[in-house]
Point group: C2
Chain length 242, copies 2
């Protein structure tokens, strides 16, 4: 299925992030290094269990909103991946502020923008030397941004949800620019909607489970090419309008 | 051409904002009240000249990034427009941070998001009681958000320009949600690209002048209806893909 030598997944302590780690660990061949990040590694019980029994799994502390910590994080990742560089970055960490017009305010707008837009952009920028190293080794190199159909302007027929919607729409534009700017370096950019998934964020009325979402997303990421880089894709690879 | 009883234009001291004021002042019939806002009224020489010779023009101080001042601003506008309410809000004030990947940072991303996205959203929300008063009087009532084709993800073929592009893309999504949420109140939302205009922001290589841009935009705003509210429109009313 997936065939990336070295992978970083952010927000990997639960939900889709944790499922990414589970499926990458059991993929064949497994990645040489699989870096799972979260804000509080000591509290990430399920993640630590996986790391105990798989010596290619590294749990690193990362608060994606703490931009000042990125330089140090990149050094840690560089030490783990070595000459391979980084072949896949999954920008999965995100928050949802679903505020409607009556309670949207500058604070929830900016919080959601910082974590869902500025963080993946700045983390991608910080990890660029390691991504370039992978691409220079002629390995498939991908930045996969986990976005949401809630960010589709075309698909917005119910309004509201100002902070979350705008953050995902802005992430789509960031990702489009990245796909253009990183193309000369041989790095592809995936813009992927996970589906409406049964997680803490998705709630109990969701349509698919994490396993289905992530196995499809890994497939879509693995199949990414010059034609689908920078396109808005459903978890199963089908296009979504902006 | 335009037929709005009471109008607020933000960022009206220069460029497109000033041109909006000039053209609204000389429209037939002229609006009963035309409120031009800017950060420093005492330095807005051209605007003060217009206000001196037209007693329907009111220059009010407004820093669109100073959300805490909005309550007071709404009171001032309410005193000027009275029972008419506000029939047209032109969210024109904006900034451009055109940073590429090598110098984009959290500061320029968030600055551009605050002024170009959070400000028009919060100002619209603050002015909603006055806009509703106009709509309840059965008058055409419009929020016109001045966006940019640079915010079109579909049209992004050159990458870069992270802060500005994402801010305008996010503004488009905010505007789409507003168009849905304000529809039951009878308020229309315009999402309008001014063209590439010869202003300080547009630079010397622009394609059209302010007069052409604004006369077309006023026409497009005046013609806005239930079908074009919430659509991304060129200054001349032609549709633009998201």
């Amino acid at each position: 299925m997936a065939n990336f030598a070295s992978i970083v997944v952010t927000g990997a302590n639960r939900g889709l992030g944790l499922e990414f780690i589970k499926q990458f660990v059991s993929s064949s061949p497994p990645p040489k290094t699989l870096i799972a990040t979260c804000r509080n590694p000591s509290e990430a019980t399920a993640l630590q269990e996986i790391a105990k029994s798989a010596n290619n799994v590294h749990v690193l502390k990362l608060d994606v909103a703490d931009y000042a910590s990125f330089d140090n994080f990149v050094k840690e990742v560089g030490n783990v991946v070595g000459d391979d560089g980084l072949s896949l970055l999954v920008n999965n960490a995100g928050i949802m502020r679903g505020n409607k017009l009556d309670d949207v305010d500058p604070k929830n707008m900016i919080e959601n923008f910082e974590v869902n837009v500025v963080s993946p952009l700045m983390l991608t920028k910080a990890l660029l030397p390691l991504l370039q190293r992978s691409a220079q080794n002629k390995n498939k190199t991908v930045v996969a941004n986990i976005t949401s159909k809630m960010g589709s302007i075309d698909d917005n027929t119910s309004g509201g949800c100002y902070p979350y919607r705008t953050s995902k729409t802005a992430l789509n534009q960031v990702s489009k620019s990245l796909s253009i700017d990183l193309k000369p370096m041989g790095i592809l950019v995936g813009i992927i909607h996970p589906g409406w998934v049964l997680t803490d964020m998705g709630g109990p009325n969701a349509l698919i489970n994490s396993e289905t979402s992530v196995s499809n997303m890994i497939n879509t990421i693995s199949n990414l090419d010059a034609n689908t880089s920078g396109k808005f894709l459903n978890y199963d690879g089908k296009p979504i309008p902006w």
